[in-house]
């Protein structure tokens, strides 16, 4: 054990970077970027170190504890085990890629980077916190900057008010970035109310005056309490994980957000929801989880198929990717709902895999938009000749999302399938497998339309990715294939993290 607070540095380095940017780098865009890159690189390097030094036998490690409010049992308590070590790594990869992918943000880049870094501190904090109240505070820290980031640096799309509720569409301004920012924030805050209630219920029920996860883990909660608290967590975190029918913030939000924010949000924040369900829902409340598993899994199946079909119907490239996240988060939730070793392993691996692939997707969409100034799929065509690198990376991300072997997506989906057929509801397997086919349909259709065939006439000469942008693409592509070929690297820690969860699930 080291005495250096590694996880604290990982968590707070971006925040320090944000402060530095606000106070020292005024009017110096290059300095802003260099500070951001350095701060995230420090976090990334340390989280790689944590991942490599992780000992699957040791339970929670890199443990830190600092009492904050001893009378209430609130403390600043950090640690990683097999469930979150990979997610910390994921966050690092995505934010490093995100910093490079938004290198070309020109409007108020100082504030942009500062908010982005503050947001990342919140995300790291949620993943590594072992104190439920601090966990919640970090969670709020991760949500709020999002509002400004989307509201100011976002882009508006076009949604035609139609149907029975057309008046409501006009009244709320659907499609504008302000609408998307507000919708996302309200949804997530709505969800966090459920989470807070759940956390307090556990605190009171345990009766040991401690918000510590480690103490809660020792407590066997009353099954009746478990049932309703699990439901609160499921709804609260589920909103963030994009469960149907509470998912509609995600397409609007992700489509309007600037590139790095979409990457971070779809890539990491949605995982945060799923992580919350596994960590607080399933691990702390095994009886509640098994009681609601049928519902969770069935909604997950709905997510998979519905999300894929909705993605197919979109005309805006960013919406396609956003709906694909809804579909893929269904795989995560399905794996979790199977409550089996293979399924939960698949779910956790899919969190990582989907995080990387969707990060790559949003980076690419951002690049295409920046070069072609269009997100309308039907207008584009034949971009492959001008941007072969972007086309290749897009194909790779697409292949991973349709579950092609040798990419991380395959392992995750296959394990989820195995888990599904082993669960109490074997039929879950069929929508899940059908989802992979539908994914192939819409992803390849989009790739064909944008990159293949003859060049579309009304575009200026286009260019491939350049300099810093390549860093983002190469990093994410590499990770996607690397973990696809050597899944054991990630699954080793995951297995170790799942062992206690599975033990608690035993009747």
């Amino acid at each position: 054990m080291t005495s250096v607070p590694v996880l604290s540095i990982v968590t707070w380095a971006p925040f320090v970077g944000a402060l530095l940017i606000m106070f020292t780098a005024r009017q110096r865009p290059l300095a802003v970027r260099l500070i951001a890159a350095t701060a995230t690189a420090i976090s990334a390097a340390l989280s790689v170190y944590v991942f490599l030094a992780f000992d699957p036998e040791a339970g929670f490690q890199f443990y830190e504890k600092l009492p904050l409010v001893p009378s209430l049992g609130v403390s600043y308590e950090l640690g990683v085990d097999g469930l979150n070590v990979l997610l910390v790594l994921l966050t690092s990869i995505i934010i490093v890629a995100g910093v490079f992918a938004s290198w070309t943000v020109t409007v108020r880049s100082q504030e942009f980077y500062a908010l982005l870094l503050a947001l990342v501190t919140g995300v790291y904090g949620v993943f590594v916190s072992l104190d439920l109240l601090v966990f919640f505070l970090f969670y709020e820290l991760a949500v709020l900057p999002m509002y400004l980031l989307i509201g100011i640096w976002g882009s508006s799309g076009e949604v035609r008010p139609r149907g029975l509720f057309a008046w409501a569409f006009r009244a709320t301004g659907v499609g504008t970035k302000e609408y998307a920012a507000m919708k996302l924030t309200l949804y997530l805050l709505f969800g966090s109310a459920f989470i807070l209630v759940g956390i307090f219920a556990l605190y009171v029920s345990a009766g040991n005056a401690s918000f510590s996860f480690l103490d809660a883990e020792m407590t066997a909660f009353d099954p009746a309490l478990q049932r309703w608290v699990f439901l609160a967590f499921y709804v609260g975190f589920g909103i963030l994980a994009g469960i149907w029918p509470l998912h509609t913030w995600s397409p609007d939000g992700h489509a309007s957000a600037p590139t790095a924010v979409s990457m971070l949000h779809a890539g990491v924040l949605m995982k945060l929801g799923a992580y919350g369900i596994v960590r607080l829902g399933i691990e702390l409340l095994p009886r509640g989880a098994s009681g609601w598993a049928s519902l969770v899994g069935t909604i997950a199946c709905l997510n998979i198929v519905y999300g894929a079909l909705a993605a197919m119907a979109q005309r805006d490239l960013k919406y396609v990717i956003a709906y694909s996240s809804v579909s893929h988060m269904g795989i995560v939730m399905l794996g979790a709902a199977t409550l089996t070793e293979a399924g939960l392993g698949g779910a956790l691996f899919q969190m990582f895999a989907h995080g990387i692939m969707t990060g790559l997707f949003f980076a690419l969409v951002g690049l295409v938009y920046e070069k072609a100034h269009s997100r309308e799929i039907a207008r584009m065509g034949g971009f492959g000749r001008a941007m072969p690198g972007i086309a290749t990376a897009f194909t790779l991300a697409g292949l991973s999302s349709l579950g092609l072997p040798a990419t991380a997506g395959f392992v995750a989906e296959f394990m989820t399938f195995l888990g599904a057929w082993r669960s109490a509801h074997p039929w879950w397997l069929f929508p899940a497998v059908a989802g992979t086919f539908l994914t192939a349909v819409y992803i390849l259709r989009v790739a064909k339309q944008i990159f293949w065939a003859a060049a579309a006439p009304d575009f200026p000469p286009l260019a491939d990715a350049r300099g810093p942008e390549w860093v983002a693409l190469a990093l994410l592509s590499f990770v996607l294939v690397f973990f696809g070929m050597l899944p054991a690297l990630a699954l080793g820690p995951i297995e170790s993290g799942l062992a206690p969860v599975l033990l608690r699930l035993l009747p």
């Binding site: 149907g163 659907v174 392992v411 065939a453």
Partner: protein, 604 residues
């Protein structure tokens, strides 16, 4: 042994890695080609070395790939047995010849494009070899999908042609549809038996310890082969796949993609043998596919598409043999067909290269202009038609004998009719393109040596296997005595029809078409199968997605927006109470106080 097998597998992979990760080398084009050809050449040498040493027992090596608490969930490794070794030699040989041939065939490509081509080729060879060496279903699935990916990339190699882009996507989707069954089947099998491993599964099958009720499972697994090996009704992708460069077609049709399905069925045969209903289905579908595709080949005018349909047809033969419980006959036909079909495609490529068109109606008398190409094409045609003593005669006889011995009367009749049609449509091509009286435009000439040598090698092998079969008499040990005569007679009849119609012109093709009116009409329209698939795709998948897209935007999200709009509106209304006049507020206080008083009286 293990290291040699790893070399066979590893060399193309290293070539792929090198080309993928070193853009300067890839963009050099010719350099990339040399790397790729050298790798597959080394792979071929290693495969030959393995094949020539007699194998005492099946060698299996495994390494953990996906860990689990109690032993590895999935492992990867090598499974080396005689069938696998023969397949390795076939794959490396055809891939090697195709890559050499492409050197000259694709001379017009820009260097980066050529580099891309060879990158895909290396990956393709690696994927197929990994599939052949797979010791369990998961590894087979992994490489199975990679094979699908490579064919997608290579069919769409000329990606700026809309037709190529469409064909590539269609191939991927169609085979992927079969793979839905394959994946599901593998998962079901795992649940039923607890393992993916061939050794364990075959041992259980041999000891009759397989759980009952595997029919659905094996049927789902077979669906994978339906997609990959272009069985009815998922054969529709294959003719369109002709949009790829011709050497790619040779590779896909001979040794890789389509062979994968048949190989899988022969590999997993002990499991299929345990489910007789599925086996019967395989035989029936195979025979039907053979006949259906043969009729469509008769009306095609594109030389590559004729060959494509003939591939579908011959795949039907192989599957029928497998379904008739004769996997060795299926595999034998796979090997001989692989060689002569690669030969036919590469020869057709040389023709297209020379005359610049695919349409056989625009060709004629090419035998005199391209004597070498003509000769090897004729060798391939004779082999495909099943003429003694070429390789195709023996493998076809083995298939027919197996189907006859399995008492599958109707499939046997369909296959026999297919044999006749095969000879007819192949000689139709030969007479129209290589003989006849139409002078081709321009001055076509034989292909350069780099293209010609692979052709000759394949032609010699086709003859050699046949002669060896004639000398040793192997292939049809258990065939009924009348079978060789009948199969030769059928082939001769087919050739006769083609001769009378297209060479001697005693009967006009139009009259023949009229005589077979409805059949001709349907075959020209591919029996409406492509249109039906397109309609399902557009109507069902797209219709459903449009519906869901609408529901999501205007109903699910619409309700959210209604809530939000109501909130906004309520806020707007309530705001009006706030008039800013003190009198109004005093009234408000008074009314409120009154209400409280009344309330306190009611609920005291």
């Amino acid at each position: 042994m293990t290291s040699l097998a790893l070399a066979v597998l590893g060399l193309p992979f290293l070539a792929f890695l090198l080309l993928a990760l070193a853009p300067p080398l890839r963009r050099h084009g010719r350099g990339a080609a040399l790397v790729s050809i050298a790798a597959i050449g080394g792979s071929l040498a290693a495969a030959l070395r393995l094949w020539l040493v007699p194998l005492e027992a099946t060698v299996v090596r495994r390494w953990e790939w996906i860990p689990a608490e109690d032993g590895p969930l999935v492992s990867v490794g090598l499974y080396i047995d005689p069938v696998g070794l023969a397949m390795l030699v076939l794959v490396t040989l055809v891939a090697f010849l195709v890559q050499v041939y492409s050197w000259a065939y694709l001379e017009g490509e820009t260097p980066p494009s050529l580099g891309r081509y060879y990158t895909y080729q290396s990956l393709f060879a690696f994927s197929m070899l990994g599939l052949v060496l797979a010791p369990n279903f998961v590894q087979m699935l992994i490489f199975w999908e990679l094979v699908g990916l490579c064919s997608y990339l290579l069919i769409g190699f000329w990606y700026d042609r809309p037709a190529a882009a469409r064909a590539a996507v269609k191939a991927f989707w169609t085979t992927r549809l079969g793979d839905v069954g394959f994946v599901t089947g593998i998962v079901l099998l795992w649940r039923a038996t607890g393992t993916f491993d061939f050794t364990a599964l075959f041992a259980a099958a041999a000891a009759h310890r397989l759980p009952a009720g595997l029919s659905l499972t094996m049927f789902l697994i077979y669906l994978g082969a339906v997609g990959k090996s272009a069985q009815f009704p998922l054969h529709i992708w294959l003719p369109d796949a002709m949009e790829g460069p011709t050497p790619v077609s040779a590779l896909i049709h001979a040794a890789t993609m389509v062979a994968a399905g048949v190989f899988m069925v022969t590999r997993a045969f002990p499991l299929f043998a345990a489910t007789p209903p599925v086996l019967g289905l395989i035989a029936w579908v195979g025979a039907f596919t053979a006949l259906l595709a043969a009729t469509m080949a008769c009306v095609e005018t594109d030389i590559k598409r004729v060959l494509a349909y003939s591939t579908v047809s011959q795949l039907g033969y192989m599957m029928a043999a497998a379904g008739a419980a004769a996997p060795q006959a299926a595999f034998f036909h796979l090997v001989t067909h692989g060689l002569f079909k690669a030969l036919l495609f590469l020869a057709a490529g040389a023709v297209i290269h020379a005359v610049g068109t695919n349409d056989i109606r625009e060709m004629g008398r090419l035998f005199y202009a391209l004597p070498q190409t003509g000769t090897v094409f004729l060798v391939g045609t004779l082999a495909l038609s099943g003429i003694w003593p070429l390789s195709g005669f023996f493998s076809k006889e083995a298939v027919l004998a197996a189907v006859w011995n399995a008492r599958l009367g109707v499939p046997f009749a369909m296959l026999a009719l297919t044999a006749l049609l095969t000879a007819a449509y192949m000689f139709r091509v030969v007479f129209l393109a290589f003989f006849g009286d139409r002078q081709p435009g321009g001055h076509p000439h034989d292909a350069p040596a780099v293209m010609a040598v692979p052709l000759w090698i394949l032609a010699i092998l086709t003859v050699a296997i046949g002669v060896r079969g004639a000398l040793t008499g192997e292939g049809g040990q258990s065939a009924p005595r009348w079978l060789p005569a009948v199969s030769l007679a059928l082939a001769a009849a087919g050739i006769g029809v083609a001769l009378v119609t297209y060479q001697l012109r005693l009967v006009s093709p139009a009259a023949l078409a009229r005589a077979l009116g409805p059949l001709d009409f349907m075959a020209r329209r591919r029996y409406g199968l492509d249109a039906a698939a397109a309609a399902v795709y557009r109507g069902l998948v797209f219709g459903l997605s449009r519906l869901i897209g609408w529901v999501d935007r205007y109903l699910v999200d619409g309700l959210v927006n209604v809530l939000s709009a109501w909130t906004l509106r309520a806020g707007d209304r309530l705001r009006r109470i706030q008039t800013g006049r003190a009198q109004d507020y005093v009234y408000g206080i008074a009314v409120g106080f009154l209400l409280l008083l009344i309330a306190s009286q009611i609920w005291r």
